[in-house]
């Protein structure tokens, strides 16, 4: 059994998506040229999610990857809701008032986000009303708390949004919903979990908010043209000493031994921070009460009923992100956001090189500049001819994320794509796939160095 190259391509490209920021329009120059994203499932159904949107009432663009566990419900909810919470947190007071007045009087709402979605990236229709009400409560509180004075601190906004959404997920599950379908949904969301790695780009200001073990990495082109990687997030797992330290600090010394076992939180959970996962957040009484009151499906589920061992001083888990701020420089060419499925198989240095070479080859984002060099017409002509030939023959991918997945899954020991290996990995039966690889979700954001350079000169 063997997949042909076109079959391989159709599998790899099934979820690919590209967005190009509308061209340079003189007024609203964006430091982002566009992004490519893609997902390759290992779980069935896939538990990863991705989101991308442009903020319409403030400046900037939001991109994020979400790695779900114990089902995809939480990752799905976070992928739908988190950017609204962030956008609302960033909104100035008067815009919040305007939106609230519009809702109050039944007028049309100002659009807050423009989503950039692949057709497979769905939103759950049933929960939209519920989600909206929670969001509205949030902005009403923001209005009450903060009359007139507006905070534009992105870091604070990101942290507040993460925490608030996790809190709402928890509350919705405690309160329940008269509609049995919704009731079950909010419980599934709360009892499953998701990590989130979100980028907010506005001009040269790049903020990464990370909860869990997905990762953000910046691709930097050195003066000699080579590529290097700068990691812009910390993994929240057992390999991160600070994170282990933090968890230990938050609980009595008596629990020190049981907190982290086999590199897992309470011996169970790989990520040390996550959305949902109320089993690691609620008191035992609360968990029992909610499960008993909940529908039968929940009661029948062994996982949800199971209380983690050594569970004495909840919460053990938080959704609070770590936020890293980075000022973009002209040499910062792209940003890769990916779930751990990618980072398990590839070193970040290779990721930087593969994406970097792909982008310069296909899109000529590294344009040839004559500058002070002595170049003749003939030399230039030769160079251009060669570049054209390289593009047409080597690169079959139109999407940087697809290209990266091709390498992640198909690389042999020499670091080049081996078709046989690729074919084998992609034709694994569903139940086996998860043994060899994890869900992979990748977003590659390309920056506009010229715009970034111009920003820099202004400052």
């Amino acid at each position: 059994f063997y997949l042909t190259p076109p079959q391989v391509n159709s599998i790899l490209k099934a979820n690919e998506y590209s967005f190009k920021v509308p061209e340079f329009d003189g007024k609203n120059v964006s430091s982002v040229l566009g992004f490519d994203s893609n997902q390759l499932p290992a779980n069935a159904p896939i538990e990863d999610r991705r989101s991308a949107a442009t903020c319409l009432q403030t400046r900037g663009m939001l991109l994020g990857v979400f790695d779900g566990h114990a089902g995809c419900a939480c990752a799905q909810a976070v992928s739908e809701r988190l950017f609204y919470y962030i956008a609302v947190s960033l909104l100035p007071h008067e815009t919040l008032l305007e939106i609230e007045n519009a809702v109050e009087s039944g007028r049309a709402l100002l659009p807050i986000l423009q989503w950039h979605k692949h057709p497979n990236d769905y939103f759950s229709k049933e929960a939209s009303k519920l989600y909206f009400n929670s969001l509205r409560t949030y902005w009403q509180e923001l209005i009450d708390l903060n009359s007139g004075e507006t905070t534009t601190d992105v870091r604070e906004a990101l942290i507040n949004a993460f925490k608030r959404l996790d809190n709402d997920i928890s509350l919705e599950a405690q309160v329940g919903d008269p509609n049995s379908f919704l009731n079950y949904l909010v419980l599934r969301v709360a009892f499953s979990g998701a990590t989130a790695c979100v980028a907010h780009v506005d001009g040269v200001d790049l903020h990464i908010a990370n909860t869990g073990d997905s990762r953000a990495m910046l691709g930097v082109q050195e003066e000699d043209g080579s590529w290097s990687a700068v990691t812009l997030s910390y993994d929240h797992n057992a390999q991160n000493e600070h994170e282990v330290e933090r968890v230990k600090m938050e609980h009595p010394k008596s629990e020190e031994k049981s907190l982290v076992k086999q590199d897992r939180l309470l011996g169970l959970l790989m990520p040390f921070r996550a959305f949902g996962d109320v089993k690691f957040k609620w008191s035992i009484e609360l968990q029992k009460r909610v499960i008993e009151a909940g529908p039968d499906q929940l009661n029948d589920n062994e996982y949800t009923k199971f209380i983690p061992p050594n569970y004495h001083t909840p919460p053990y888990l938080t959704a609070e992100p770590e936020v890293i701020h980075h000022k973009l420089r002209p040499q910062d060419k792209f940003l890769v956001l990916a779930t751990d499925g990618l980072w398990e198989t590839m070193h970040r240095q290779d990721v930087a090189r593969i994406v970097g070479e792909y982008l310069t080859g296909v899109h000529h984002q590294q344009p040839i500049a004559v500058g002070g060099y002595k170049v003749t017409l003939g030399q230039m002509h030769g160079l251009l001819t060669e570049r054209r030939a390289r593009i047409s023959s080597v690169f079959e991918d139109q999407n940087a994320a697809t290209h990266l997945i091709r390498h992640a899954v198909g690389n042999n020991e020499f670091g080049t794509v081996d078709h046989e290996r690729l074919s084998k990995m992609l034709s694994l039966p569903e139940e086996l796939a998860r043994m060899y690889r994890d869900d992979i979700t990748i977003i590659v954001v390309q920056f506009n160095s010229h715009v970034i350079g111009a920003y820099q000169n202004e400052e």
Binding site: P22, E23, F24, D25, G26, K27, N28, H364, P367, I368, A369, V370, K374, V375, T376, L377, G378, M380, H381, L384, T385, R387, R388, H450
Partner: protein, 882 residues
């Protein structure tokens, strides 16, 4: 103003000491000037405010001030000549396909030549000549057509062999050339310096120039310009001139009353090199290689070479925050194919060192012609922009025509092909413009054969019958956004694909159109003519009749139900429009004009109709579908469908009546066909269109009805010597000059516009005469076809040009229509053209350098036709049986 002038002068002296390319020094200059305060405050009012200090703005200021207007303020958002003008390649060439463009370029060349002497500003003017290369025979034909036109304008020009090309320019590889055109008087200039020279002269004449002042919007009250708002305050003015180049579109849209200026900028690349080892002479001719899509000129001992690639990059220009255009990205990969073409043309340049790849925006328009004239909605709002990369060639002439337009009320040449009013709101969608300019920019180099159509921005306005006709094999062309049928390809037959159908010879649709024409002559055909502009004018009292009697030359006080063909003339008696007007009732009129009159005619009438709420004019173009039933059996079809007698005694020609056709009531039937053939036009409220069309086609079956298109219509009208506005008639042509005195009622008991001019012509005679030519020794199968714009020779001397032409399937000859002048043999002075003068000449028509004998006619062949048809009927009926 004195301070400004000093600054200009010091500017120029400064540059004279550094005779380098201006771009190299721009950063120094801008840093040294940003700190400088504005020298003079803006005046509170001026007669004219010009926005834009590029070649167009300075040229308009220069010409206005020369014509005696000097209360003028020119505002530039950045620095003078710092936009596209600065980056312009500086080639002044008269080798242009459109007549008015050649005239503008010719004038520009003469103007720039003496500008340095006039102003003392170095313009870098150098008469180098230009050579346009042909890699194919078709290209050579198109060059020969231009050469014929240049020669009759008195511009030296010759078609030369590849060998001669090498003598003129030693670097050129000629192995793939079939010939070339040499225009020895074409020139090179530094465009920025030309612009500064024009500004210097203008400011000496009193024009105030303010840099770093941007116009935010123009205020309009009661349809008149009242002033401009700038970032430095308000200026009251009577006239505003939008010369904002690539920003003209947005500036036009910034006011409350938008002025639609359809243009869009694309990135345009050219290459600069270091000097050759042996520096190129500054007098070496400019090379244009349209088949390679490139141009090459000498530049400071090296070369400057750019081109028009197949895949242009449109720009967005919203937000006028780029005061001076700087460093748009150089894109070598994009330039690659053009570089390849350059090295193929001049292989010796391989070792030449690159200095820079310049990327500068150029504005393009939907039809490749520039935009000038007055806004149809805001009086006093003038526009000059959208130069399609030939700004420096047109700058002088365009500025002159616009200045004349403002001062005299009309320019000295027919500029309708460039008139802003040829466009409406429908061409100003950003999406439309982006798509269209992507097609237009490559077209700069593409072969322009007769009757090609744009491929982008189509299917915008369509008749309700569009799908029905399309399913029956319709092939479409577009006029003013409206899809019109060219002809119907019969089932089972197929035509060449687009690229292969391009020809200067007999086209592949020849037989198809022939059979459509035959059907019009012998049976009945139906043509969808819904695109024609339709207005209704009505009033409570006699206001409509009185106003129209003044605005139209024919007598409109006819009995209700009559249709009148009439011109809408200007003060000089020239045709502003040519239309048919039906008197629907005592107080209401229905007016039909050519499709592209929608904006112009509306503006013309609006400006002149009295401001009376009881007089209403409405554009009803969209309300009616028009079906033209042409042919001897039209009368049978219609009378069967309406149960009404339609014969001449009941329904005479030039008659209009509302009647029912099939189930549909209220169909306006007019006994006109726009072709000279018998028949009717039905004006059908659009919801009935499909019904009436189906009824007509069903009923017509037994009379041999079939669909026909505009090509058949054109052949019919041209062989009947029918002049068409926009093609044969323009604002410089009077009814007297085209044998249409019968459409003028000089004695209608009241004055009308143009009457005096016509009376004078009637007395003194005319200086040109619309004439019909039948080509004699022209082989339809083998020879080049005439198009329009071909020179006419009488007894070997040039007397005028053709304005339209078609193959007459009845005469089996080509027919050209055109104007004959009488130039005095010694002085060249225009003399009166008499009937004898026309009749007593031997005529030739020059098609791409080849002359064909032609017989001149002043009257159509109508009588001859009928005789001939009777004789033919026998033959044709025999033919049908085959």
């Amino acid at each position: 103003a004195a301070g400004m002038f000093l600054r200009l002068l010091s500017d120029i002296q400064w540059r004279a000491a550094h005779p380098k390319w201006r771009r190299m020094t721009s950063s120094q200059r801008s840093t040294s000037t940003t700190a400088e305060p504005h020298p003079v405050s803006l005046p509170a009012q001026a007669q004219v405010v010009i926005c834009g200090g590029g070649i167009m703005g300075t040229s308009v200021a220069y010409h206005l001030s020369k014509m005696g207007w000097n209360d003028i303020v020119l505002l530039e958002q950045g620095r003078l000549a710092a936009g596209t003008t600065r980056f312009c390649a500086g080639i002044v060439s008269t080798a242009r396909p459109v007549s008015i463009e050649r005239k503008m370029a010719h004038y520009s060349n003469k103007l720039y030549q003496q500008l340095e002497q006039e102003t003392g500003v170095q313009t870098g003017y150098m008469k180098t000549g230009s050579i346009s290369l042909a890699q194919t025979q078709d290209r050579l034909i198109s060059l020969k057509r231009i050469a014929s036109s240049l020669n009759v304008m008195g511009i030296p020009c010759e078609i030369i062999s590849p060998k001669k090309v090498v003598q003129l320019h030693p670097l050129i590889n000629i192995h793939d050339l079939v010939g070339a055109m040499y225009v020895p008087e074409d020139a090179l200039v530094s465009s920025a310096n030309v612009s500064l020279a024009l500004a210097t002269a203008a400011s000496r004449n009193g024009v105030q120039i303010h840099e770093r002042t941007s116009v935010s919007h123009v205020t309009v009250q009661k349809g008149r310009v009242t002033g401009v708002e700038t970032d430095r305050g308000r200026i009251q003015c009577e006239y505003f001139v939008n010369c904002a180049g690539q920003w003209a579109y947005e500036l036009g849209h910034s006011g409350e009353e938008p002025v639609h200026i359809p243009l869009h900028a694309c990135e345009h690349f050219y290459l600069l090199t270091h000097p050759l080892k042996e520096p190129l002479s500054s007098s070496l001719p400019t090379i244009v290689d349209p088949d390679g899509r490139i141009y090459i000129r000498n530049w400071q001992g090296g070369i400057l070479s750019g081109g028009f690639e197949k895949n242009p990059k449109p720009l967005f220009t919203e937000g006028r925050n780029q005061l001076e255009i700087q460093n748009l990205q150089e894109d070598w990969d994009h330039f690659g194919p053009l570089l390849g073409a350059l090295l193929r043309r001049m292989p010796g340049l391989e070792a030449l060192q690159i200095m820079q790849l310049v990327n500068c925006p150029e504005s393009f328009t939907p039809d490749m012609r520039c935009i000038m004239g007055e806004s149809p909605t805001a009086q006093g709002y003038f526009v000059l922009a959208g130069m399609n990369s030939a700004g420096i060639s047109y700058g002088g002439g365009a500025g002159k025509y616009l200045a004349e337009w403002m001062v005299n009320g009309y320019p000295s040449e027919n500029v309708w092909p460039l008139d802003l009013k040829r466009f409406g709101t429908l061409q100003s969608s950003r999406t439309f413009l982006r798509h269209r300019v992507m097609e237009v920019m490559p077209l700069m180099c593409d072969l322009k054969v007769p009757r090609w159509d744009f491929q982008t921005g189509r299917q915008l306005r369509t008749s309700p019958l569009y799908d029905r006709l399309d399913a029956q094999g319709a092939r479409w062309m577009e006029k003013h956004g409206f899809e019109r049928v060219k002809y119907f390809v019969p089932p089972g037959k197929d035509l060449l694909d687009l690229d292969h159908s391009k020809t200067f010879y007999k086209p592949d649709w020849f037989d198809i159109v022939g059979s459509e024409v035959k059907c019009c002559k012998e049976a009945v055909s139906v043509i969808d003519m819904s695109s024609f502009t339709k207005f209704e004018i009505s009033s409570t009292g006699d206001q409509a009749l009185e106003s129209l009697q003044y605005l139209f030359s024919n007598d409109l006080d006819v009995p209700v139900g009559h249709v009148v063909h009439t011109g809408m003339l200007n003060e000089k008696g020239g045709y502003e429009n040519d239309c048919s007007i039906a008197r629907l009732s005592k107080r209401s009129f229905f007016m039909i004009s050519p499709t592209d009159q929608q904006v112009h005619c509306w503006a013309w009438l609006k400006k002149r109709l009295p401001d009376d709420s009881n007089l209403v004019m409405e554009d009803v173009t969209w309300k009616y579908t028009a079906l033209n039933l042409i042919g001897p059996r039209a009368v049978d079809v219609l009378s069967e469908l309406s149960y009404a007698p339609m014969t001449a005694e009941h329904f005479p020609s030039l008659f209009c009546k509302e009647m029912s056709v099939g189930y549909a009531n209220g169909i306006r039937v007019m006994s006109i066909t726009h072709t000279g053939e018998p028949g009717f036009v039905l004006y059908i409220p659009i919801e009935y269109a499909l019904h009436v069309y189906n009824e007509v086609m069903n009923m017509g079956q037994k009379y041999g009805i079939r669909n026909a298109g505009y090509y058949a219509l054109r052949s019919l009208r041209i062989e009947k010597f029918f002049a068409f506005w926009g093609q044969d008639l323009d604002a410089f042509t009077t009814p007297m000059e085209c044998g249409r005195e019968f459409q003028v009622k000089l004695e209608k008991g009241m004055q009308f516009l143009g009457q005096e001019a016509l009376l004078e012509q009637k007395q003194n005679g005319v200086y040109k005469r619309f004439t019909m030519f039948i080509l004699e020794d022209h082989d339809t199968d083998m020879d080049l076809w005439p198009w329009w714009g071909e020179p006419i020779f009488r007894n070997g001397r040039y007397v005028g040009k053709t304005t339209s032409s078609a193959y007459s399937y009845t005469l089996e000859r080509h027919v050209c229509l055109g104007f004959v002048h009488h130039f005095d043999e010694k002085t060249g002075e225009e003399l009166v053209v008499t009937t004898d003068f026309i009749n007593q000449g031997e005529y030739e028509i020059d098609i791409a350098g080849q002359r064909f004998q032609a017989k001149a006619k002043l009257y159509p062949f109508s009588s001859l036709f009928t005789q001939r048809r009777r004789k033919d009927e026998v033959e044709l009926s025999g033919y049908q049986r085959e």
